[in-house]
Symmetry: C2
Subunit: 339 residues, 2 copies
């Protein structure tokens, strides 16, 4: 029975096969231009022949870098994240990195445990909507490259999602459809900034906006809030996210109201949910590819930056990249009922 080598092939075997020293083999992979083309080719051939690939453990032990990025999100099962994870994997791989994803379960204790578990296996960390204190985050940032998303901490590189463009477009759409009274279903304090700019955008167009909540960002929240919306005689509702918006859709149907004929509904995030619901959900899109790319690249830059100096980052000025948003009109929005 023929079988390949069950034990891993090392750099030494490649070296002897190619008739060079281990150093040269190492260089052929890490600094190809420092080795003569002829020998380099011989080495690469031998490596391919033997099926050699460098041992990441040894590499990271010696070099101190693991070649992986850590991504910690509040909830993997939240449909907003998987496309982002996927995009970041793809992006990182093209840059020679692997991505280690973990789930903080939205609880602070778990977040700390998760960070402890992954921090030694990654070169840097992307923390999404971290619940840690500013103090802890600074401490962490002093120990390893860090990027925070949807969380502002002075001195730490940040990716911020701005909903203002999408909100403004939503307001315009509703205005054009003749709506006057709108409701915003708010959830979770971290997103209150969303509610802030929402007020302004709507007032600017002379639309009244009543804010409900804050609640938990769950389907049932939408179900619950939908009845309140009806009581408020509002004709349009913006929900904290698509999931909540679907709750609204669901309850509206139960109440015998038709969307968008009786009430218009708008979600946020443009998750898969929005595109496959009936009716299709008008929503504010945040491009997963863009956010993954920007956050990933920012972390890689931070890592590269901290490699130079003795201590990690914490410049006086830390980078901030802002991700835009835009409205995706679907069938859940329409003319206000003429009454």
């Amino acid at each position: 029975m023929m079988r390949g080598p069950s034990v891993a092939v090392t750099i030494r075997e490649v070296a002897s096969a190619a008739g060079v020293s281990v150093s040269t083999v190492s260089r052929a992979f890490t600094a190809p231009d420092q080795v003569q083309p002829a020998t380099r080719q011989r080495i690469l051939d031998a490596a391919a022949e033997l099926g050699y690939s460098p041992n990441p453990a040894a590499r990271s032990l010696r070099g101190g870098s693991t070649g992986t990025l850590g991504l910690i999100v509040p909830d993997i099962a939240n449909p907003f994240f998987p496309p982002i994870i996927k995009a970041m994997q793809a992006r990182a791989r093209r840059q020679g990195y692997t991505v280690l994803v973990a789930d903080s379960d939205e609880r602070e204790a778990d977040e700390l445990a998760v960070i402890a578990a992954v921090s030694k296996r990654v070169d840097g960390l992307i923390l999404w909507a971290s619940t840690l204190t500013e103090e802890r985050l600074h401490e962490l940032a002093g120990r390893m490259p860090l990027v925070v998303v949807n969380r502002h901490v002075p001195g730490i590189p940040e990716v911020r999602i701005s909903l203002s463009a999408g909100i403004a477009q939503a307001a315009e759409l509703l205005k054009a459809y003749g709506h006057r009274r709108c409701v915003f279903i708010n959830a979770s304090r971290a997103e209150l900034s969303r509610g802030k700019s929402i007020q302004e955008s709507f007032e600017a167009l002379d639309l009244s906006l009543h804010e409900l909540g804050p609640y938990e960002p769950r389907f049932e929240t939408g179900v619950h809030a939908a009845t309140l919306v009806a009581a408020h005689e509002a004709t349009a509702v913006i929900a904290h996210n698509d999931l909540v918006a679907l709750g609204v859709l669901h309850q509206m149907a139960n109440l015998g109201m038709s969307v968008p004929r009786d009430v218009s509904v708008i979600g946020i995030d443009d998750t898969l949910l929005a595109s496959v619901s009936t009716p299709g959900l008008t929503t504010i899109r945040i491009d997963p590819e863009e956010i993954a790319t920007r956050a990933g690249d920012l972390l890689i830059e931070t890592i590269a930056g901290s490699a130079g100096r003795g201590t990690t980052g914490l410049d006086a000025t830390s980078p901030l990249v802002e991700i835009g948003s835009r409205l995706i009109p679907r069938a859940s929005t329409g003319p206000a009922p003429t009454h």
Copy 2:
């Protein structure tokens, strides 16, 4: 400015702080019963004081095991997988493992590349619906512990999802509701076994089942197939998965047909989509926790098994665990139109 040690603390520093040798510190962590309680406590205290935790790179370089499980799924963005990933992470962490998730993008070339990228960083691999040839899988299994899910390869530990229970329950439900003519929307050849047992289950209850497809498992497939269903004068439809079922729901609404009054719809997987659609989608549930637990444990067992002998697994008899399914009745199913 006070700041923690920017450089990692090693076992050596713990050793000198506790007044023992590095060997003893190592033992205090890996084999606590081999060191006297008093010294062990002193070591643990010193370690906690210094904030020490073992370097995984060094540990895996020396010991040959990484403490990570690799999970390769066809598509992270498919809402079926995130809950599974989440559950497996939790389970693995409790067993001292980390999970490295990757996405094969449903393409064979990518799958090979992904495997190559992660194989050196993990102790074993869970391959979900792999598109690799049997030959390649055997070769891989000879090199490292392997578990396949939704794919049968003789000699390789396997987790199989059985839909027959759920299908049978679906048939019973439809029968009880008085349906006679049903349609199954099939997609992707790997799932044809699903279609197989479907036929039998329905025939057993004297229900006619017409099979459409195979198509791609996309939302648009459901949209497209819905019109065919109407043309077939069928009163019930089972879709390849929830996503396709939602496409059916969507198109039925467009055609002015009401679900479940005019037609009943059943999905498969019980993803988030099913629970938040309007009407709620009756679907066949496959428990993500169970599948994650079983697959994870099976891989861990396989790893433990292969550690003993010189060469990896490949017993004459390889384990097979089967995951059941059950129907979750929701609002998308009801009495057949009397007409």
